[in-house]
Symmetry: C2
Amino acid sequence: MGNQRLTVREIAELAGVSIATVSRVSRGIGQVSPEMRARVEQVIEEHGYRPSQLGKALAERKHGAVAMVFPGLSGPYFSELIQGFEYEAMEAGASVHIVGTHHRAAADDDVLAISGRVDGIAVHGGTIQDRTLHRLAAEVPVVVLAGRPLDGIPAVRADNSRVAELTRHLLLDHGYRRLAFVGNPDGSPDVTERWEAFKQGHREAKVAAPKSPLKVGMQQSDGVIAAGELLTGRRPPGAIVCANDETALGVLIGALGRGLKVPEDVAITGFDDVAMSSLVRPGLTTIRQPVRELGAVTARLLIAGVGGPGAVMDTVLTTELVLRGSCGCP
Amino acid sequence: MGNQRLTVREIAELAGVSIATVSRVSRGIGQVSPEMRARVEQVIEEHGYRPSQLGKALAERKHGAVAMVFPGLSGPYFSELIQGFEYEAMEAGASVHIVGTHHRAAADDDVLAISGRVDGIAVHGGTIQDRTLHRLAAEVPVVVLAGRPLDGIPAVRADNSRVAELTRHLLLDHGYRRLAFVGNPDGSPDVTERWEAFKQGHREAKVAAPKSPLKVGMQQSDGVIAAGELLTGRRPPGAIVCANDETALGVLIGALGRGLKVPEDVAITGFDDVAMSSLVRPGLTTIRQPVRELGAVTARLLIAGVGGPGAVMDTVLTTELVLRGSCGCP
DNA sequence: ATGGTCGCTGAAACCGGTTACTGCAACGTT
DNA sequence: AACGTTGCAGTAACCGGTTTCAGCGACCAT
């Protein structure tokens, strides 16, 4: 405690050189004679000098930090996403700020406040208003994560249209009728696209799609609640397509807890392919998306600087249908 | 894009005043005549001036940011923890850096690297080596979160000893014998304390405790794996005490998936009381800890400055036994 | 009229780095 | 011998804020 850090000028004094030389040595650039370099390095080593990030940042006019904004960080999806993002940022020497808005009123202000502290911001789709997004983009490079590109703001996302393929599989290969969709499109570009793909799949199979989705949250506990809603009526659906694995697992637990058999009584599918999905009985049929990679690509894009001519505006990562027992496959 | 931010000097020029006055107005302190204040405020408003965090930070010699270091952020526990921390930090105007070490080799270096960017760091128990912790504490205020205080480094934690009460409940009230403990004490102060309390409960009930815990991770998927290990042998335990709710839910799913009845065939308990625990059938008997509050208290402590005489060295939040169906209670 | 107080504003120093530019010595070339 | 390179180190000017201190005019008391 207490022993405040040394500055360039003090190190310069101790080594009997100018501050320019200290800076050159500590950064390892510029021309410095071997003996001078050795002398300065010795002093730096002795006193454990490390340049202040503050001075450095001001002089270089960059923060060496990026931020990620998301609604909340419940569950494996956000964990993976952040880990991919954070790992990539760390590799590039940038530290990571996080802003979870979790339904806070002042969220948009918080996001603007962070813009003065970072070199770039990744905003999870549906987290803040488009208006705020534009104001943000005027201050600092922005990438939309899991959402659509918007007026010069690039996006990184997964191919949600594969839900159409899943839907056709349920309708045509297994012959289920009366599918239900669990998930709330409002405020989530991902869920919106999945719901649209769900309807598209119905069109392609020439089967009437349900009028509306069952709007619940994205957590496992929301799935349990959804199961209660869907499976207690007189005409329960033959298959339940969930917006993500966590709700699907919740629905599965809710169904099994009611003594129903999956997939005999009801089929269930998810989206993400989280670790649990291959471990439950029956295994969860789902769509695998490269969540970690999504975060990593976003970080790389942000650090590379985003803007400029020829910049990639829309990065869509491929997804993959994973068939397991919960849809009726062996 | 492109329109770079204005500086104090430019605003001063535009308003026809000195930079000192601009600074005083923008900070709202010091003596400024009403008309001058109005004039400057007008210019600030017009041009959307907001002082650079970089200049501010350098001049004030503080970053206005705190960091949280943890092993990884899987599951609801870390989500809640971070949300509590982040919310409190935001309230105080500090932004939040996160560092997930997730078993990275260079983790300790990363943590030291971040120390030059923040005013304080919360380190989750068991994340980095004690040696690194000391070096860190020499640079910046540090609080250990979910761990023991260490040589002047304060800690914030929950009362894990309540696991002894839970253990006695299983042994004495329900009469179970042959309890198993699921969780890996290595590298986790929390799990270590819970395992110790588990043995303590056995001593108090005068029942022999198992020699060692079943060492698995803290995620739901690890619980499924643990269920496979414990429930396939010839003499399965009568009750399984898990280090946290997520593994307990995994064990529960694994047990039900094998056609076992809970609690008739095997009782299961957890720790945390996450949302899912009250939704599964049977409800999960667990110990409730105030995870969010844990994060919030840590943030407050860090922002208040930690050190100094009379500082609180050890903050222990109370926990509560929550009895539901999975232990055999009605 | 003079001296002292008070309220307000501005000049300049400072925070801790980076870097353009300058100066100087040693060397090679014609 | 005079001159142009070249390599190296130092001076000083930034980066964008905050804050100390000095100065100045208005006001009041004597």
